[in-house]
Symmetry: C2
Subunit: 516 residues, 2 copies
């Protein structure tokens, strides 16, 4: 097995074989791992002679790897009842997700998530990058994330009676800016031409040096980034999807404020990222919000009665709508003719559901009497316009990257959709509004949070770690210059589902009829 915990049995020392304790352990590991480069942490070294003798020279070694070099971070008694843990961390701009992994079995012991503690400084990453450049700003952002993580680690461990001391390895993925904040590196040059990060491949760093309070010998693997706009979270996503190992070409889309796309197979990988606008994450709509109890995540409209039915998370009274719900809503509004191909609300169809505020049309989605807020939940023409811009950008990006590699959508074996929000998108709805291409539904696969998925994999096998560098090295990043061709694609996609209906043959709009 290729896990990080290896059982090692060494002969007790004698006068004929009296090399040092550490060197004997390393010698045996070198044979087992078939390598020449193994280091041992100083903190562990201080405890090693007693540990070896207490275990009668039969021990579980806890390993990690920094490119070609292995590192021993811990040694445990094979009968120790305390599990040996690793911690997978998804450093999202919005949410931080932590998973405690039992390194011996690779199983997930516990999981927790929390809002990114930097949100008060700025919900979007750009505001934080500017803040970091002010006096003491970087240090404050770094303390927020490190202190926040330390608190989350204590809570996570408490939830399963684990000890932070028993965490020996961490794997962390985030976008390039979050990775910089995590290491206390100033990302100022990332947002100035020619957009330079401080480092793309940080490798393994001592947890203590980063201020993370776990075992003092623990190391942190930080997922490498490709550049300022293609971070370690996406490398983790590729690893999780297996895109890099498949014979057939597939595509991976991480849907968020930025649409991050990777296309490829085991031979090549091409990536690009582009601003899709905040609408897909509901940042722009008045009633839009992150998924949570009472948030509408699914919408269906009865095409006969125009009745809007909704599903909320935890079945609580509705208080807002999240991205997947919004796409469902827009899709059904379009399919039953309540909005036209330009996305404009059609008064003759919407009827009494429509009202006007400050000269802007609003459609009542949830009447006041059903809403958790006591007021009606409405979606405005501006909200719909914003969503259409976002979906058009997404489709234009997908067209650009596929055409740049000479692949048509139908050649894609699988269309992975990732992201905390993206995973909940109903592909049928996304196709109906022309956000995702018109492929058979079974080609779409939801990956969930692929970033935490990838960081988890890195803690289950040393082979995955080798893969990470392989992925990073093979990604060709396509700079998505907003050129005339892209603008043409974008404009063509500003219609529902598209100016070219032949691209979306499966989308059948209900022919207009009398309003209810």
């Amino acid at each position: 097995m290729a896990g990080w915990v290896r059982y090692i049995s060494i002969a007790p020392p004698n006068l004929q074989n009296n090399t040092a304790d550490a060197d004997r352990l390393i010698g045996e590991l070198k044979t087992q791992l078939n390598t020449d480069a193994i280091d041992i942490d100083l903190y562990l070294l201080k405890r090693l002679p007693d540990l070896l003798r207490r275990c009668k020279y039969n021990v579980n070694c806890i390993l990690f790897k920094d490119r070609e070099r292995w590192l021993v971070t811990g040694v445990a008694h094979p009968q120790d009842i305390n599990p040996i843990y690793g911690l997978a961390v998804d450093l999202g701009t919005t949410r931080i997700v932590l998973r405690l992994i039992d390194l011996s079995t690779g199983r997930i012991t516990a999981e927790t998530s929390s809002d990114n503690p930097q949100i008060p400084v700025g919900p979007d990453i750009l505001a934080r990058i500017h803040f970091a450049d002010q006096d003491g700003g970087l240090n404050r952002l770094n303390r927020m994330i490190i202190d926040g993580l330390n608190q989350m680690i204590i809570r996570l461990c408490d939830s399963c009676k684990a000890e932070p001391y028993n965490i020996y390895s961490l794997s962390v993925a985030g976008n390039t800016a979050m990775t910089h904040f995590f290491m206390s590196l100033n990302p100022r040059w990332m947002i100035r031409e020619p957009y330079i990060p401080v480092i793309n491949r940080p490798g393994l760093i001592k947890a203590e040096e980063l201020g993370i309070r776990v075992n003092p010998a623990a190391r942190v693997l930080i997922f490498p980034s490709v550049g300022s706009y293609f971070g370690g979270d996406l490398i983790a996503g590729i690893l999780f999807s297996g895109l890099n190992k498949a014979e057939d070409t597939a595509i991976l889309v991480d849907v968020g404020t930025n649409a991050e796309v990777v296309i490829g197979n085991r031979d090549w990988l091409v990536a690009c990222a582009g601003a899709a606008g905040p609408a897909l994450e509901c940042g722009a709509t008045k009633i839009g919000m992150m998924a949570g109890p009472g948030v509408i995540d699914q919408v269906v409209i009865d095409h006969d009665t125009y009745n809007i039915r909704w599903h909320t998370i935890d079945n609580m009274p509705p208080k807002g709508i999240c991205g997947s719900g919004l796409i469902d809503l827009a899709s059904h509004l379009f399919l039953c003719g309540m909005i036209d191909i330009k996305g404009k609300l059609v008064p003759s169809v919407c009827g009494s559901r429509l009202n006007e505020k400050d000269g802007i049309r609003h459609l009542v989605g949830v009447p006041a009497e059903d809403s958790a807020t006591g007021s009606a939940l409405t979606i405005s023409q501006a909200d719909i316009d914003s969503l259409i811009r976002s979906k058009a950008a997404m489709y234009a990006i997908l067209e650009t990257i596929t055409s740049s590699v000479g692949i048509s959508f139908k050649d894609l074996s699988t269309f992975y959709v990732a992201g905390t929000f993206g995973s909940f998108i109903n592909p049928r709805s996304a196709i109906s509004i022309g956000m995702l291409p018109d492929l058979p539904i079974d080609r779409y696969k939801s990956l969930g949070n692929s970033s935490i998925g990838g960081t988890t994999m890195a803690l289950t096998s040393s082979k995955c770690l080798d893969e990470i560098d392989g992925i990073r090295g093979r990604v060709t990043y396509l700079e998505l210059n907003v050129n005339q061709e892209f603008m043409n694609r974008f404009s063509a996609a500003m219609f529902l589902p598209h100016t070219d209906p032949l691209l979306f043959r499966s989308v059948k709009v209900r022919t207009s009829r009398n309003p209810q």
Copy 2:
């Protein structure tokens, strides 16, 4: 050149080449150094973007190396007037020696030495090893050496207007126990059969992790040891002597309480160590002391008048005698017949210079009126007996190691004598008493403090660093079991110069004549 400071010029970033700052620097270094493995310290990384821009992408990189992996610990402006320093450290049981090296030129900027601050715990290493095993003992010994080093570093830097912050690399050599104290590793198993150190090859450790206050990114190279009785100081000595690169076979002897011997050439190296007793370092004689002002370091006896003439360090009135003076004295006493071939004082020759205290004969070396102490400086029969045991042990060790490799003394191209004290031995005198073999005087080469010599070399060239591991890997350690053969050799060497006069043909003892 193979030094640790390399001038690197990288193209400023542009949209076509917008990889990260660190990766661009590392990429250029990889080309220059022809390697794939280069890391950069996190502390430096935080400052790198500003440094690169301030230097317009033309910088001096400060490097160090951990086996196959290079590490960037600093980046400096090529016109910076502050030198880039390295610090060579000889961690002697008795004396600590520090040298500040200009890493750009390889030149020695300043040097200082100080008593080992652990001496109050115990002058010999064994006492300290026992002390380390008591509650809090190891920590106290570690603090003594680390605090002591930090104070010495400040003094050393003050003496030449340098800043500890500008020290980027350290190379440290000591015996295996001192190396353990330095790293806060408990050497308890080194003195219990089968004599196991914690680690022989510690590699590169962060100075900060060891508590050394220099540049926060600085790394410490700790010279590897072969085992409990053959430490990094001797590896440094071999490096300094060049024994490992010569075609002809040579021998290196580090004279101290332990006699540590290495024989070999560029193809093989065989080492052994054995207790020579404290007499050679003057630990056993009443008037013996470490070299210092007023200490007799050279002695001549007029063979006609039996007048004893002495030279003291700094020409101060004599207050004691050091090892080299003692060997001179014994040699002349023997050559002019004042002691016999068993080392016994001959009353008929010594005459009035002899007196008796507590039934033991004493020879007055310095009369009270000439001495700095106001009392006569005398050497007792017991002192001479102790010296003879030490010289016999030394000769038996030399015979054992040469015969074990099938080499006779006359085949040795060079006989290196090292050690703070050993370097001052007059080989003629050492031959006369049968401590060193009867070789032409020009075969003897005094190396001075070869440990600080070797650590200095490690800071001047990356090639030397590769050599260290090569030396360590090639040393075969010969366990000097005190067997019957060794005891026979020891007994035969208990005479002056030896029971077999044919081994010391050059030694001509004055035939007895009437006393003065």
